[in-house]
């Protein structure tokens, strides 16, 4: 248990597109990580609370509703306010390139858009959490 990377896979806002999040949750679990899938319609507050409660090493935010530039920065802000800045935050979904750049500047460790293989995400998280 001590060695397992703990990842919260989260769906913020009203977005209901959960195909990708579920695949990633399963892939991470198959790769030996402890996965907590929040389910849909989570507020940023709920996501951060879950991450704290679950002692998460990483949060994977999945968002395909176009609301990412409001919700992701809010999640990052709440993580800072709660003093849990060492949590690795990655984002996936329909994120245009310049928004991805912006999110990375705000502290998102990696952005994985359409077509990103799950192996890439697994390897990235292993590397980012160990660091």
């Amino acid at each position: 248990m001590a060695g397992k990377i703990r990842v919260v896979v989260a769906k913020p806002g009203l977005d209901g597109h959960d195909r990708g999040a579920k695949i990633i949750a399963r892939a991470l679990r198959d790769a030996g990580m402890e996965v907590i899938y929040t389910g849909l319609h989570q507020t940023p507050e709920q996501i951060v609370e879950t991450a704290i409660q679950e002692d998460a090493d990483a949060i994977g935010i999945s968002i395909l509703s176009g609301a990412h530039m409001t919700l992701v920065p809010r999640i990052l802000e709440l993580l800072r306010e709660n003093g849990v800045e060492d949590v690795v935050v990655v984002v996936g979904g329909t994120i245009p390139d310049d928004d991805a750049d912006e999110l990375r500047k705000l502290g998102v460790a990696g952005v994985f858009g359409p077509g990103a293989p799950t192996t890439e995400i697994v390897d990235f998280l292993k590397g980012a959490v160990a660091a």
Partner: protein, 554 residues
């Protein structure tokens, strides 16, 4: 090898089989359909059990396998109906008019997430979401702007809305009233298909039981007052997008359809009074023949069940009409222009499958809503198919293809298997509550993804023929200022309206909702006219019925 060629060819299946097997198949390629159906290299007469009159019949007649109308596209082309919506009603009104000017023949409305989930734009949960995924509609005032300059007596409109479908239908009917168009002349479709929300699209509000009551209220009201409206569009598109295979898309959609039929029968409605107005909505994915087979199987299954199981006597109750959308999930962010090709092939499958209405995706939609340029190209795709390819000249031109008929039969068989399993579980709603469909979808979705990641299932530009240093394309940006603008709009509506009338209408709706034997459409119409907002109506119903929360499986 050369020796074989000089052999005397006596012909016959066995010789073909021997010669086929002496040639190695291409390595590392899957010859199964996208759904995982193993394909034999050849279909021939002996492979298909086909009785022409029993299984195919004639266009416009039972069992409708070859098409729902006698003349199909020779009499009338499918409706070119591009899904559109973003920002506030004013922006979408402009896009609607652009599309109509460029040859679109029917409207289709995309609403934003807050509207889809039953929240007004100024609700806390709407923050950052207003106008992003579709148009923000909070009240009748927004609907008036949305259809400004668009005569509802002349255009048919589809509305992709489910949880708050009743409210949006009422808004539309009220705009018609204001334009002087009587209810019985309003044409269009409301998606309303709440069962597939629990299964796939996830845009629910209330629990299944009261949601079904609302659906039946809409079907009943439309059967009496809006005979040209399709009150439901029983959908497989979203089930497929969520990751199901073709057989699951077919089976779960039809099962949902039967569940609505049964709910209406339970209400005491005569099957022929509502069944002719039920409509469907399917995906057009990339496996060309599998999709065409799916549509034909769908028509045949629906016809058989409606006549044999539900005792419908009116032939219009047996015929399944459907809209199709090309598969959003097949679009790539990498080398996006290639999506034009994918969409064209998917659209062709839908046409060869006999669709009544078609939306073609724009090439830039993997990352954003479409630009004008992209959506014009999507429309042109349909126009080229309609006018330049000749596929519309012969009805069901692929009918009789051994491969196609074999696939049609196989998908039909798999669908019936699923009907049995769902029945054994206790019906559609119980199956949903037990996460049956959701699990099937998650499995199929993971299987497909694994094939892609192993490189067995090729996606051009993604796991083969990749390109470094791609130039980013221009995409549509939603102006964040529109959210503030819309918030001000809805607050102004609440300020302006007759507070007493709005309050009374809302109270009446709440009271009627608590009584299962009252049709809610008239109270919703009254509330709409009083400019009660959609969010307010949904909140009232949330108080009476509660909200749904899923237990997710992955």
């Amino acid at each position: 090898m050369a020796t074989t060629d000089r052999d005397e060819q006596t012909g016959g299946a066995e010789e073909w089989r021997r010669r086929y097997e002496s040639t190695p198949e291409r390595e590392g390629e899957l010859f199964s359909t996208i759904s995982g159906l193993e394909n034999e290299p050849l279909s021939s007469p002996g492979d298909v059990d086909l009785d022409y009159e029993r299984d195919l019949g004639w266009p416009g007649a039972y069992p409708f396998t070859r098409g729902v109308y006698p003349s199909m596209y020779r009499g009338r082309l499918w409706t070119m109906r591009q899904f559109a919506g973003f920002g506030t009603a004013a922006e979408t009104n402009e896009r609607f008019r652009y599309l109509l000017e460029h040859g679109q023949t029917g409207l289709s409305t995309a609403f934003d997430m807050p509207t889809l989930m039953g929240y007004d734009s100024d609700h806390a949960r709407s923050l950052g979401e207003v106008g992003r995924e579709g148009v923000a509609i909070d009240s009748l005032a927004d609907m008036e702007t949305l259809f400004d300059g668009i005569p509802l007596g002349e255009v048919s409109t589809s509305m992709t809305i489910n949880g708050p479908a009743a409210m949006l239908l009422a808004f539309y009917a009220c705009v018609g009233e204001e334009q002087g168009v009587p209810l019985e002349r309003l044409r269009g479709t409301v998606q309303t298909d709440i069962l597939k929300e629990y299964i796939a699209q996830k845009e629910w509000i209330f629990p299944p039981e009261p949601s079904m009551r609302l659906v039946v209220d809409m079907i009943e009201w439309c059967s009496e007052r809006l005979p040209l409206m399709h009150p439901v569009s029983i959908s497989g598109y979203h089930i497929r997008e969520a990751g199901s295979n073709a057989a699951q898309e077919l089976a779960f959609t039809l099962a949902d359809g039967f569940a609505y039929v049964e709910a209406c029968l339970e209400r005491g409605l005569d099957v022929d009074s509502f069944a002719p107005r039920l409509s469907f909505f399917f995906n057009a994915h990339l496996d060309f023949f599998e999709e065409i087979a799916k549509y034909r199987a769908a028509r045949r299954i629906w016809a058989r069940q409606m006549r044999e199981r539900y005792g419908a006597r009116d032939p219009r109750s047996w015929l399944m009409r459907f809209h199709t959308q090309t598969a959003g999930v097949s679009l790539t962010a990498q080398q996006p222009e290639v999506n034009l090709i994918r969409t064209a092939i998917e659209a062709l499958a839908a046409v060869l499958g006999g669709t009544q209405s078609l939306h073609t995706n724009s090439f830039d939609e993997a990352l954003a809503l479409p630009t004008e340029h992209a959506v014009r190209l999507a429309l042109r795709t349909q126009q080229v198919i309609a006018h330049e390819t000749g596929v519309v000249n012969s009805i069901d031109p692929l009918g009789g293809s051994y491969y196609l008929e074999q696939l049609t039969n196989e998908l039909e068989r798999q669908a019936y298997d699923y009907f049995l399993r769902i029945e054994e579980l206790g019906g559609v709603i119980t199956a949903i509550e037990q996460n049956f469909m959701q699990r099937e979808i998650a499995e199929a979705s993971f299987r497909y993804q694994s094939e892609v990641e192993r490189g067995e299932r090729v996606i051009v530009g993604v796991n083969r023929y990749e390109q470094e240093d791609e130039q980013p394309i221009e995409i549509l940006r939603i102006d964040p200022a529109l959210e503030r603008k819309q918030i001000e709009r809805v607050q102004a509506v609440r300020e302006r309206r007759d507070a007493g009338a709005a309050e009374a209408a809302l109270a009446r709706l709440k009271d009627d909702a608590a009584h299962g034997d009252r049709n809610l459409m008239e109270p919703i119409m009254a509330a709409s006219r009083a400019y009660v907002t959609m969010g307010e109506m949904c909140d009232a119903l949330r108080e009476v019925w509660g909200t749904w929360r899923e237990t997710p499986v992955f």
